[in-house]
């Protein structure tokens, strides 16, 4: 099982102009802990919508790579978006689900994946080109390479430990998060 902070930090090392969308709660905190960046779009709400924000961004910017980092609860709530992404086949989109099989923000109630519901299998059935689970930190480098160079749509279920880690709080003002992202991307 992975240490979530260490895994996300390794994914985002030397990220260049990778565009990152992070799901509400712990995933946003993990991305912030790896280092604040103007090309991070941090969500603090809109549960279930993270993957679709990634799709809209990937379609708009085929010249960039887009990485969605989110939790199993958010992905399950928006599970239909896997089918929607499967239709569009964005080559530049990767989704990384930080899967601890629990709803961490609400008291660690078990999620569907705890009962064996198979998210990578769902993604494959939805025509993702690559979909697999990883659980060893040595695999982080390969996942990082997929984010930058793999042919999407890509789906990674990162099996992380069931642990509480300290919160690292980034910007919370939605206007500021959006404007910083847009200004940076469009002047790059």
């Amino acid at each position: 099982m992975l240490d979530r902070r260490d895994f996300v930090r390794r994914l985002l090392i030397g990220r260049g102009d990778l565009l990152v969308v992070s799901g509400l709660g712990a995933s946003t905190f993990d991305v912030a802990a790896a280092g604040d960046h103007p090309l991070n779009f941090y969500l603090w709400g809109a549960m279930g919508g993270t993957a679709m924000i990634g799709l809209g961004l990937a379609l708009a910017r085929p010249d960039h790579r887009v990485a969605v980092l989110t939790g199993d609860g958010d992905m399950l709530m928006g599970i239909g978006s896997l089918a929607t992404i499967g239709v569009k086949q964005p080559k530049n989109l990767a989704i990384v689900v930080l899967d601890n099989a629990h709803y961490g923000e609400t008291g660690m109630q078990p999620s569907h994946t705890k009962s064996g519901v198979d998210l990578p299998g769902t993604a494959l059935a939805c025509r993702f080109r690559h979909a697999r689970a990883v659980s060893r930190i040595e695999e982080a480098a390969a996942v990082r390479a997929l984010l930058h160079e793999g042919e999407g749509p890509i789906f990674i279920s990162a099996r992380i430990k069931e642990e509480d880690v300290p919160r690292v709080l980034p910007l919370r003002d939605g206007y500021a998060i959006k404007q910083r992202f847009v200004d940076t991307l469009n002047t790059a």
Binding site: L19, A46, G48, G49, L55, L59, A60, T84
Partner: protein, 175 residues
């Protein structure tokens, strides 16, 4: 038989979407929007995104805007109810949104199961922060949709158009 003006309102909407530079259109298939959907699908400059549920489209609009593209959403009035929490993304971040809603559950609706949502669609949109414009006549479509699109994209506002059941025609139950 339809008169020319009745069959051209989707074309008028499409022309306005083109004028303001819409590059992505998210939709849940809908009979009232069938011509507009076909026009969007046939346009190589527009990415058409068929959604499994309407709230996916709210995320699509936000993602498109982050990437510098304008998007529009097409849905039936029932779909507005599916979006309520996701609309908070638009307000929290000031994402422009153009939402074209074909109305059910009003004016001659044959299926009463459409009425509970159709009768509150406009109120739900207003409570969710949308400027909401109702269109009853085909000859008003161009002007109202054009003005609303400009408000949305000039001001980063959320604008919804309710295309009334009188405009789109009562759904015929018998085939």
């Amino acid at each position: 038989m339809h008169s020319p003006i009745e069959t051209s309102w989707p074309d008028a909407i499409f022309a306005q979407l083109r004028r303001v530079g819409i590059r992505q259109v998210g939709y849940v298939p809908d009979a009232g929007h069938s011509r507009l959907i076909a026009l969007c699908r046939a346009d190589p400059d527009i990415a058409d995104v068929v959604l499994t549920t309407e709230e996916e489209g709210v995320g699509l609009v936000a993602g498109a805007a982050l990437g510098g593209q304008r998007a529009a959403l097409l849905m039936q009035s029932s779909g507005v109810g599916n979006c309520i929490n996701m609309f908070s993304l638009l307000r929290n971040c000031g994402f422009a949104c153009v939402l074209l809603v074909t109305m059910r559950g009003e004016f001659g609706e044959f299926n009463q199961w459409q009425v509970p949502m159709g009768s509150i669609t406009g109120d739900v949109l207003r409570l969710s922060g949308f400027l909401t414009y109702r269109v009853d006549n085909a000859e008003d479509v161009d002007e109202i949709v054009g003005a609303g699109c400009d408000m949305a994209f000039d001001g980063n506002l959320q604008v919804a158009f309710l295309l009334s059941q009188r405009l789109i025609g009562r759904k015929q139950w018998t085939r």
